[in-house]
């Protein structure tokens, strides 16, 4: 039976709310935040031009890089993921260290 997209969307949302653990939901909020930040930066450049280009790159890479690292953390922390051999704590520490290195480079490039 064809259902309206809205109904499908609502079903998805409810399923999501029920199946994901709290920590995952927190990580998902963080992901959403990073995603939106990136989108807004890109929209700004699209509107007013590339000057100064290095600042745009710094900001954009910050969001994109953090997004990637957070997804990696989510993958490793997910309890349904049975293939990983890494403990959550280790994943978290890796996440922190990588973020520090990334933001070192980002801050270098902001100019």
């Amino acid at each position: 039976m064809s259902e309206s997209p809205l109904a499908i969307f609502k079903k998805l949302f409810v399923a999501y709310k029920n199946t994901t653990t709290q920590s995952l939901k927190i990580i998902d909020c963080f992901l959403l935040f990073q995603f939106l930040t990136g989108i807004f930066q890109f929209a700004y450049v699209f509107l007013v031009g590339k000057f100064p280009f290095n600042s745009f790159l710094a900001g954009f890479i910050s969001t994109v890089g953090s997004f990637v690292l957070t997804i990696n953390l989510r993958t490793l922390v997910d309890p349904e993921n049975k293939e990983t051999k890494v403990s959550t704590k280790r994943a978290f520490v890796d996440f922190l260290i990588c973020n520090v290195i990334l933001h070192l480079a980002v801050f270098n490039y902001i100019g």
């Binding site: 709290q22 909020c29 959403l32 807004f40 509107l47 007013v48 704590k89 801050f107």
Partner: protein
């Protein structure tokens, strides 16, 4: 008297006269001045001061010291770090090991090594390294060097034989060789010298070869007892055969080699020396190309170009040999030398001196050394005929000044500018003749006196009232024997020397009888329209005469150039004498320059000499004279110039008005073009200075937009906080106050994370990367330690 007698007498007189003519010779018109000597001394000093004691520089150091000694009379060795140099030499002699592999033994390497050996050994003895510190004494000779020396002495190159031979004799003085080695070396050197001498007698020996044989001869004479004969060589050779045996042997090679020595086997060194000097005559004839011109007499290298080193070396060794032979024949009277047959004629000597002078401004050590030693050898007292140099202080005299202080001062000296002793010479002003009229002489034979302070001979040329121009001044120097008739010990007799000095007498000139004539062209009758006479140095304006020239007219300007000051000159300025006032003086340049005052167009017209006057014709109608049809005021200037005018004349003598009337179209275009051409093309004018501007920054959006977007960027952050609130925090694992250590470590961990963010902010605003990394290390260490403990506690 019959004709036969008369003929005989005529021939006899002719011979006497010819010998008299041949008796006087040319002197030199230049010397090596004190300033040039000083510069050469500085070159030598620089070489020593550079403290470059490597073995490649031994030869330069030695040459610099010898040159300096010749010039200043004092030794330069005090400026050298003797210890370092001796140490360097010692190291070289003891440690050098040559690569004996055949393919690496190039001639250049061998020659360079031998050069260093020779120079090093001479320096070693001069500095007396062996007697000072024991550290500096050469205790043993490297076997490679001994082998090289022996091999070179036994070889075929006269250059190598000489270099090795000298090295051996210098080292012998330090007593480094034992008796056996010494006698062996001495035999071998003597034998090789004999072979070289024999080769010298063959046809066409090469220059390269002959120059070193002379040096070898000097070595032999200095180091062997004059009584020694070649019988020394009759001692046992290495093979057990005596030399005489070898010469008579049936082996072709040996026989050929030693046959040539046969002539010398019975001679003593003394006799050998005489033989050598005879040979030098042959050598000199080979080396000196005398085509009858003095410029050709230098010593040439293989390609025929004059070579400084060869010249200097031959002169040096020849002088030494001659002196040694004189010393050997010590009982001679001075007078006997006059009868010696001259190997080098006076033209040859002058040519050699001029060649050495041509190189006296060199800054290279070896060239400077060669020049100085060559000149010193030429200057040697009993070797060559004395070369007399006569130089003038000033070769240009002005008529305006008179008196002894303006007279010409002549220095009569040897090659180095040392004045010859006054009581042995007589200096004559022989002739003073104008260059254009050499047969005319303003003076006869006149003895010059010496100024006691400066030791120069004063020739007051202006006393003979010469007119301005170029003159040939011939000075003669002859030898004066002392009162008791015997030859003067201070200066040996020489032939009289003639020197011709080109002098210039300058003086003021003036223009007289300048006349401007404006007349009609010949086609219209040629009548004179106006005639103006202008007195130098006034202009036509002062005479208030307006000269108007119309088209078709012809301007004719005539004048006369004479010596003397213009009559307006003050009494003080007037010359002491005014000779030939009304005679025409020839000028190099005589022209009239017309300048258009408005457009700046200039034209030049030459003035030609016509009988007693100069004349310049300007035809306004012609292409040259039409001045591009520009009417208006013109300047007329007279330009007179020559070498011996004190000041050339540039005299604006008239301002004229040229009136062309109405111009046709063609003429107008010519005028316009001409004015156009006078302007300088803007490409040739100075342009404005360019100031560099960097690229401006691109346009930025208005501030409102940027600020709006900053606000928009904060929205996701707010959204994050809201969502986190909705999702809910789980703080169950957070350690409670019951577990203070865990609590503290937890808090520290979170604090370090905050510190990291702060650190990044600080990096952006203030710190450098290095400091940031340093702090990062610290904070990272703390955070990792506290983090470990925190996460471990989560387990529990």
């Amino acid at each position: 008297m019959n004709t036969k007698n008369i003929l005989f007498i005529c021939i006899f007189l002719f011979f006497i006269l010819s010998t008299n003519i041949n008796c006087s010779t040319q002197g030199l018109n230049k010397i090596i001045t004190r300033g040039e000597q000083k510069k050469l001394m500085e070159t030598f000093e620089k070489a020593i001061a550079s403290k470059n004691y490597k073995k490649e520089n031994f030869q330069s150091l030695l040459q610099a010291s010898v040159g300096y000694q010749f010039l200043s009379g004092s030794s330069i060795w005090s400026k050298v770090q003797k210890e370092d140099l001796c140490q360097e030499i010692k190291t070289f002699f003891e440690d050098v090991s040559l690569n004996t592999d055949e393919q690496y033994e190039s001639q250049t390497t061998i020659w360079n090594t031998l050069n260093s050996l020779q120079s090093g050994s001479i320096i070693y003895n001069e500095l007396q390294c062996h007697s000072k510190k024991k550290d500096n004494k050469i205790s043993k000779l490297s076997p490679a060097i001994k082998e090289l020396l022996l091999k070179s002495i036994n070889g075929k190159s006269s250059r190598n034989i000489y270099l090795s031979g000298q090295t051996f004799f210098e080292l012998e003085k330090t007593k480094i060789f034992n008796e056996k080695e010494t006698s062996k070396f001495r035999k071998v050197i003597l034998r090789s010298f004999g072979k070289m001498l024999a080769l010298l007698e063959e046809d066409d020996p090469e220059v390269e070869f002959s120059q070193y044989v002379l040096e070898l001869a000097v070595l032999v004479v200095e180091n062997y007892d004059s009584e020694t004969s070649y019988q020394e060589l009759a001692d046992d050779d290495d093979d057990g055969d005596t030399i005489i045996d070898k010469a008579e042997s049936e082996d072709d090679d040996d026989e050929e080699e030693y046959e040539s020595l046969e002539g010398y086997l019975e001679m003593s060194i003394e006799e050998l020396l005489e033989n050598v000097i005879e040979l030098i005559a042959d050598v000199a004839n080979l080396l000196v190309e005398n085509d009858g011109q003095i410029q050709q007499s230098f010593f040439n290298d293989e390609s025929g170009k004059p070579d400084l080193e060869i010249t200097s070396r031959v002169l040096r060794s020849f002088a030494k040999l001659k002196k040694l032979s004189i010393n050997l024949n010590d009982d001679d009277d001075d007078d006997d030398d006059d009868d010696d047959e001259e190997i080098f004629s006076e033209e040859d000597l002058i040519g050699l001196a001029e060649f050495l002078f041509s190189r006296k401004s060199t800054q290279e050590i070896s060239a400077a050394y060669n020049v100085i030693t060559g000149l010193k050898s030429l200057d040697e007292d009993r070797v060559f005929k004395k070369l007399i140099c006569i130089t003038a202080d000033n070769e240009e005299l002005s008529i305006k000044q008179k008196g002894k202080q303006n007279a010409m001062k002549l220095l009569v000296s040897d090659l180095f500018g040392n004045a010859l002793p006054d009581d042995s010479i007589e200096v004559f002003l022989f002739r003073l003749s104008p260059v254009s009229k050499p047969e005319k002489s303003l003076t006869s034979h006149f003895l010059l006196s010496q100024d006691p302070k400066s030791k120069k001979y004063v020739a007051d040329l202006l006393a003979y009232k010469p007119s301005i121009g170029f003159y040939n001044l011939e000075v003669r120097v002859s030898h004066k024997s002392s009162k008791d008739g015997k030859s003067n010990k201070k200066l040996r007799p020489f032939n009289t020397a003639d020197v011709t000095i080109l002098t210039k007498i300058v003086g003021p000139v003036k223009v007289s009888d300048l006349e401007i004539v404006v007349k009609q062209p010949k086609s219209q009758g040629g009548s004179v329209l106006s005639r103006n006479k202008i007195k130098y140095p006034e202009t036509s304006d002062s005479a208030k005469k307006d000269i108007v020239v119309k088209r078709d007219n012809v301007l004719s300007i005539s004048f006369r150039v004479t010596a003397g000051q213009p009559s307006k000159a003050s009494k003080k300025q007037k010359t002491g004498f005014q000779q030939n006032i009304n005679n025409l003086i020839e000028t190099h340049q005589a022209m009239v320059k017309i300048t258009d005052l408005e457009t700046g167009i200039e034209r030049y017209f030459l003035a030609m000499q016509k009988t007693k006057k100069y004349q310049c014709t300007i035809d306004i109608n012609s292409n040259d004279g039409n001045m591009d049809f520009s009417s208006g005021k013109y300047n007329l200037e007279l330009i007179i110039g020559n070498f011996f005018f004190e000041k050339s004349i540039l005299w604006n003598f008239a301002n004229i008005n040229i009136d062309f009337g109405d111009l046709s179209e063609g003429e107008q275009t010519i005028l316009d073009l001409s004015i156009e051409n006078q302007k300088i093309h803007p490409d040739f004018l100075i342009k404005d200075e360019i100031k560099h501007i960097f690229n401006p920054d691109p346009k930025r959006p208005p501030k409102v937009v940027s600020n709006a977007f900053t606000g928009i960027m904060l929205i996701p952050f707010v959204l994050l906080i809201v969502l986190l609130y909705i999702v809910g925090f789980n703080l169950k694992s957070f350690p409670s106050l019951k577990n203070p250590i865990a609590l503290i470590t937890n808090l520290i961990f979170i604090a370090t994370l905050g510190l990291l963010v702060l650190l990044f902010l600080a990096y952006f605003f203030k710190l450098t990367m290095f400091k940031t990394l340093f702090y990062l290390l610290i904070v990272g260490a703390i955070s990792s330690v506290s983090g470990y403990f925190t996460l471990r506690n989560l387990d529990k």
